[in-house]
C-alpha cells in the first residue's frame, strides 16, 4: 500500500454536516490525489496536490475542498455533505508525474 493510510475507513453522516477525510503517507511522495469511485463511473479525480500548499481541481471538485499543510498529509473536506457524495474515496500518491499511482485502501462514506 506504499505507506498510505486513510482515515476513517468507514463513516456515516447526515446531509448538511461537514466531513473531513484524511490521507497520510510515509513515502515522501510529492503528488497526492483524491478520487471517488462509483459503480459505472470508475475512478474520478476530485482534487490533487503537487506540493505543500499547492493544490488543483479535478473533474468532480464541486462541493469538495482540500488542504496540504505537510508533505505527508492530504485532507479532503466536504463542507456540507449531500447524498450524492455517498461513495468510496481513495487517496493516491505518486513520486512524479508519470502517474504510476499508489492507492490507499479507501474510505466508505455514506451520507444519509
Amino acid at each position: 500500500d506504499a505507506g498510505i493510510t486513510q482515515s476513517p475507513r468507514h463513516k456515516v453522516t447526515e446531509t448538511g454536516t461537514p466531513v473531513t477525510l484524511r490521507c497520510h503517507q510515509t513515502e515522501n511522495h510529492r503528488y497526492m490525489y483524491w478520487y471517488r469511485q462509483d459503480p459505472g463511473h470508475g475512478l474520478r479525480l476530485i482534487h490533487y496536490s503537487y506540493g505543500v500548499k499547492d493544490t488543483d481541481k479535478g473533474e468532480v471538485s464541486d462541493g469538495y475542498s482540500v488542504s496540504r499543510s505537510k508533505t505527508e498529509d492530504f485532507l479532503l473536506t466536504l463542507e456540507s455533505a449531500t447524498s450524492s457524495q455517498t461513495s468510496v474515496y481513495f487517496c493516491a500518491t505518486a513520486v512524479g508525474t508519470n502517474e504510476k499511482l499508489f492507492f490507499g485502501s479507501g474510505t466508505q462514506l455514506s451520507v444519509l
Binding site: G42, T97, E99
Partner: protein, 113 residues
Amino acid sequence: QKEVEQDPGPLSVPEGAIVSLNCTYSNSAFQYFMWYRQYSRKGPELLMYTYSSGNKEDGRFTAQVDKSSKYISLFIRDSQPSDSATYLCATLFESGSARQLTFGSGTQLTVLP
C-alpha cells in the same frame, strides 16, 4: 461518450483459462496506458504500464496496445482464483502542465477453481 470505455462484466472463467480484458478510448492524444487490479475492499494497484503500441509481457500477464484502433487489452494466461478482482484500464495524456489521467469503469473477473 466516455473517453475510456470498458465492459463491466462480470466475467467468469474456469481456472487455467486465458482471460482477455479490453478497453477502447476515444482520444488519440493519450500516450500512456495502464492496467490496475483492484481486490474487493482494497485500493487499485498498478499491474501493467506501457507507452507504445505493441505487447508488454510480465509473467502471466500481457498488455497490448493498438493505437491505430484505440484499443487496449490485457491477457491473463493460466488464470488462477487469486486473479479474481476488478481490472481497470487507464490512459494518460501529458503536455506541458496539462495532464489527464482517465480510468475505465472496470471489469469484474471471477476465476472459478
